[in-house]
């Protein structure tokens, strides 16, 4: 099973690569494009990116596995990122996390069986004045309560 990006993704990849004097420097944006399209970065996609950036595939694996954003296996259609460091913790983040975890029936790092939602934790989303906060596919929400979180989940399930 080999990997090839869509023409649109390929165009984005070409565009981002033009912004750097060295090919490898484009690896984070290129991986981001790949993941945005495929949902995760497969072994074949790693090899494809390596070839495109003219490096050994092991270099892609090194980078991929260093950063928390990238996925090497499929995730949910939506990603719920719960902040849990100091400011959010003081505002009850652990309770929110437990609530979501119970409501979805999954632990952080897991995806709901229907493939709708992946739940992950974050160390600090930089939204400390809106604690406790979370991000849904990059969009900030906060301060959240059990009620608002429940509404967000319903929304995601309805549109998933």
């Amino acid at each position: 099973m080999s990997y090839a990006p869509s023409p649109a993704a390929l165009a984005r990849i070409e565009k981002t690569m033009a912004l750097y004097p060295e090919k490898l420097a484009a690896i984070l944006p290129v991986l981001r494009v790949v993941q945005a399209e495929a949902g995760f970065i497969s072994r074949d996609a790693e090899a494809w990116v390596a070839a495109r950036l003219a490096v050994e595939p092991v270099r892609v694996r090194e980078v991929l596995s260093f950063y928390t954003l990238f996925r090497r296996a499929p995730g949910g259609r939506a990603t719920l990122q719960i902040c849990r460091n100091i400011s959010c913790a003081l505002a009850g983040a652990e309770d929110i996390l437990r609530f979501i975890s119970e409501k979805l029936g999954i632990e952080p790092g897991e995806t709901t069986p229907d493939g709708a939602i992946t739940l992950v934790t974050a160390e600090c989303l930089g939204h400390c004045d809106h604690a406790p906060c979370l991000q849904v596919d990059g969009v900030d929400h906060g301060p959240v309560t059990r009620e608002t979180v429940a509404a967000i989940i319903e929304e995601l399930k309805a549109h998933g």
Partner: protein, 500 residues
């Protein structure tokens, strides 16, 4: 040593003078002060992350890396203050907290930096109550290499070696923090001609060689310096054997061949072909004297040489140049070649001299040369004009002396047989069994390079003398002894050779 190009500094109160550009770690080493280190390797770029080599430098508040600090005039370094010793203990404690206690079954035990440093600098009781990380302990990463991730201290020497030296870059570091681990990309194993160096440079037992695993213990190994005979580079090697455990035929068992540092020749590395050279020592050896292909029991090589001498003497003097043919090879040492020249070119046994050597292979741009013999330059320096052995030329001779087995690999076996059949008296001197054994009257066993002393001149003209790493099997002479014996059997002394 003083003046331009050198720098004077003080290490633990001792004045030291070293070349500019030396780091403090190496400068201390030159002064006999060993600073412990894991990630630093003199053949690799400095990384400075194992944090084992921290020292005090006068005027600086923090402990500094001795690997990353270059010497400066007047620098005052302290390597064994309580602060430095505490830092070492702490680093060791961290490393050992996540290190398995499998030294009893670890191949590196006895030559492991972690063990050595614990003994010298650690000596603490284990304080780790929490469970260690469990990791893959037997991951095949290519070319007979096994990775034990629990033992790895993440010095990254292996990763850096493959990036900087072979430029093949098969290994990388995956994940981060405590989960960091060395790995390959699936389907891209370590596959280059220098992979054995990874085992040499691994400071612990994380990367081990499949063919060395569980074979012996490091402390049983006698490490003898030698020069690799498998190409014209002449890399410095250690031939590592265990005394008292010969193979069945008396050949010394060689557990491994490792790289020995020689800045002028091979730096810190050797190729896998050279490492595999242990097969050349162990395998296919013929340690018996054969007559017509069958063991000549009860006959010593010294006694057998009288038959060679008789055959030579029977060729009338004026005819010798035409009717005696000698095939030499470029694995012979300079000393042996010199004797051979005096005997066969200008001396009493003189005849036509040919050379037969292993075919060249591709040079790899690093150490391995196209020439796959160690002393091609020595042949030229001895004054030979090496002529390849042509079978018709050999067939025309009355007496044929062949040194080495290479001839058999250069010609069709039937052609060789036909050529040899035409020669009335023929003798072979070779370390390994081969098809020529049956074609000659007498086949003498000889030593391999690791079993002898001598000199090779490498591709760059560097002369390297070496001593035998170990004795050849009982009753097996070196070619040099054969040549001297032949002189004696001819009723001459060495002095007579030059008088003629």
């Amino acid at each position: 040593m003083s003046g331009a190009g050198t720098v004077g500094l003080t290490i633990d109160g001792r004045p030291v003078r070293v070349p500019e550009g030396t780091n403090v770690l190496r400068a201390a080493g030159q002064a006999g002060i060993a600073i412990p280190h894991f990630c630093f390797h003199p053949g690799l770029e400095v990384e400075g992350h194992c944090r084992m080599c921290l020292v005090e430098i006068e005027g600086l508040p923090k402990l500094e890396l001795s690997c990353a600090t270059l010497v400066r005039e007047g620098l005052s370094v302290r390597t064994s203050t309580e602060r430095v010793r505490q830092a070492r203990r702490d680093v060791l404690e961290f490393l050992l907290a996540e290190h398995p206690l499998d030294c009893p079954i670890c191949d590196k035990a006895g030559e492991c930096l972690l063990q050595d440093y614990y003994d010298l600098h650690g000596r603490h009781a284990g304080r780790m109550i929490e469970p260690r990380e469990r990791r893959e302990k037997k991951l095949a990463i290519g070319r007979k290499l096994i990775l034990d991730r629990e033992r790895c201290v993440l010095c990254t020497r292996c990763v850096r070696f493959l990036r900087a030296y072979t430029r093949t870059g098969e290994l990388g570091i995956f994940e981060r923090g405590l989960r960091s681990e060395v790995g390959i990309f699936e389907g891209r194993p370590v596959d280059n001609g220098y992979s054995g160096n990874l085992v040499d440079i691994c400071p612990v037992g994380a990367i081990t060689a499949e063919d060395f695993r569980f074979k012996t213990r490091a402390w049983f190994l006698a490490k003898r310096p030698s020069v690799c005979p498998h190409c014209a580079r002449g890399c410095a090697v250690s031939v590592e054997s265990v005394r008292g455990y010969p193979l069945a035929d008396g050949v010394q068992r060689v557990y491994r061949i490792t790289a020995r540092e020689n800045a002028a020749v091979n730096g810190h590395w050797i190729c896998d072909l050279g490492r595999e050279g242990r097969r050349d020592i162990e395998d296919g050896r013929r340690v018996r004297l054969l007559r017509q292909g069958a063991p000549a029991s009860g006959l010593s090589w010294q006694a057998a040489l009288t038959e060679v001498a008789r055959a030579l003497r029977q060729v009338p003097g004026p005819d010798r140049a035409e009717r005696v043919a000698v095939v030499l090879n470029s694995r012979m040492t300079c000393e042996e070649l010199d004797l051979a020249k005096r005997l066969f070119v200008s001396g009493p046994g003189s005849g036509r001299v040919f050379f037969a050597d292993r075919r060249p292979g591709p040079a790899d741009g690093l150490l391995l040369t196209a020439d796959r013999v160690p002393n091609g330059r020595g042949v030229l320096e001895a004054g030979f004009e090496p002529r390849p052995a042509d079978l018709d030329g050999l067939a025309a001779s009355r007496v044929l002396l062949v040194f080495g087995t290479a001839l058999a690999g250069l010609h069709d076996p039937r052609e060789i047989a036909r050529s040899f059949a035409a020669v009335p008296e023929k003798f072979l001197f070779a370390a390994h069994a081969g098809p020529l054994d049956k074609l000659v009257d007498l086949a003498f066993p000889v030593a391999v390079p690791a079993e002898k002393s001598g000199t090779y001149v490498n591709i760059e003209g560097i002369r390297q003398s070496f001593s035998r790493a170990f004795e050849p099997p009982r009753g097996v002479p070196a070619e040099g002894e054969i040549l001297i014996g032949l002189v004696r059997s001819l009723g001459l002394s060495l002095g007579d050779l030059d008088a003629r």
